[in-house]
Amino acid sequence: MAPQVFAANAAMGSMVRGTALVARDGFSARYDLDRIRGVFSRPDHLLAGQSYVGRVLVLDVAKGGVATAWMLHDMSARGVMPAALVLNRVNPIMVQGAALAGFTMMSGFDIDITQAVPNGATVEVDPTASPPSLRIVTESDDRASRHQTAKAAPIPVPAGVRRIG
């Protein structure tokens, strides 16, 4: 089977290869992480309780406030850091934080990247390629973990309304 390659609109950092941790949920270092233990700690995050250390995080959208701009730098210094962050959509804070930390980040795909990359797959994230790209090297053997499922009910939004983002 030909390797699957997904081109991104923007990226920074160096090429990394690692195991993908995938969910259609957001990312904020302050809101979502226990940065001491290196796990997702927000109870209603789809990855709650899972370690992010050394993983290529493939998530939907940058969330939350401005603290992540500092926190990625500190996480990197303490070695409690993902290998890379791949998002459908970024906010400026993620970009600023990745720039300070020298962190590999990639965003903006033609498809929903959280649906395209199987959880547990080995992926290669190459910001130096033209265009920047994510390549699935090998898929996970664990088909049951292909997509993360919700652990807690989301906060209600008005009935009958399509969630955006």
């Binding site: 226990d34 959208v61 992540t68 926190m71 500190d74 990197s76 934080g97 939004v157 955006i164 983002g165």
Partner: protein
Amino acid sequence: MRLNEEERAILAGAQGSARQWAIDHQLRVGRYLGASDFVPVSQAHIMADTESLGEAGVAWLERMAALPEPERRVRIPTITDPRGTDFAAAARLRQQDWMLALERRAIAAFEALGVLMTDTCINYQTIMPAVRGEHLAYGDTGVVIYSNSVLGARSNFEGGPSALSAGLTGRTPRYGYHLAEHRRANLLLRVERTPRALHEWGALGGLVGRLAGDYWRVPLLTGIDRVPNSDELKHFGAALASYGSVALFHMEGITPEAQRARDVADPGLPVTATITETDIRNFLAHYARGVETIDVVVFSAPQLSLIEMRQLAQCLDARRVKVPLLAVTSPQVKPDADRMGLTARIETAGGLVLAGMCFYQSYAREMAEANGWRHLASNSAKLTNILGGYGYRPVLLSMEACVEAACTGRVP
């Protein structure tokens, strides 16, 4: 990105290594986000509590602070967001010595850089409100969304490193909300019931934030039937920015760029949702579900205005709290609250008034562990949203209900 002669010189190191680092950082950010050039900014606002900075971030600041003075001083008014403690009350919060030491080091570094230690997230109420069209580099989401939306200023979310960079270079990459085309609404929402209390404004902000979902959505709200005051828009905006990472909203007939919906929205923009009283009630109920007792009550995020301090003092008159009640305000409001007897009224009831910090930026996880706090009541939707990840089980209540919870230890 196009650079002018001065910017090329800064990048070449002609103005020292601090400014050289700063403009290089800004270039990397600007290129990623599609900026074509820089825009001069008149103020910067730095979020830099030491829980976020960590030892590595403080050491990084100290290296910059050790540079020769002409190289390291910011060149535009540059102010700070809340710090990670109120030194006068740190022992009562059971914060640890290493936290205070880290805070002192960060403060010393910022002072060496020429930063004004305002330690506030309500600078738009207390320091120097922005002016419509003014380009800024602000670094607290609540400050950005209020300045953009209510005051008509122009800023993106500028995290600490980028806000400091703007302070050093006097400019920021021109992308996002510095550009008129990004300020147009792309999400139209109808509000059936205008909130009454601050926590309801926060709940509405949370609902809109959930619907918006990311930074590049600009909601336009119709149906708000009266002009909200500054505290109401403060809570609404802070929650909207927190839940949705949103940096700009419009309210038809209220915010300056949206006197008419068509001023900011295309005629064909569909109404995505109608937000009802039931939606707000369900939002509040979601947090209250299964929580009966309360360990701590916190008024913070954003810091309280003088008006909120008076409201709280009135609620606490002739009452006595049973569980800790923390009221967090700015260093600018605190002396007025002292002078007008508001601090004394709150503390006579057993509350604790804190200044210059914000609860979630002050080692909230460690405070929870040290004090045995898990069930927390607040009237701040922003605080409620953040603290789940810090191990709390927060409940969003009115100010009056929070005071009742503080006096009984139970959710009313």
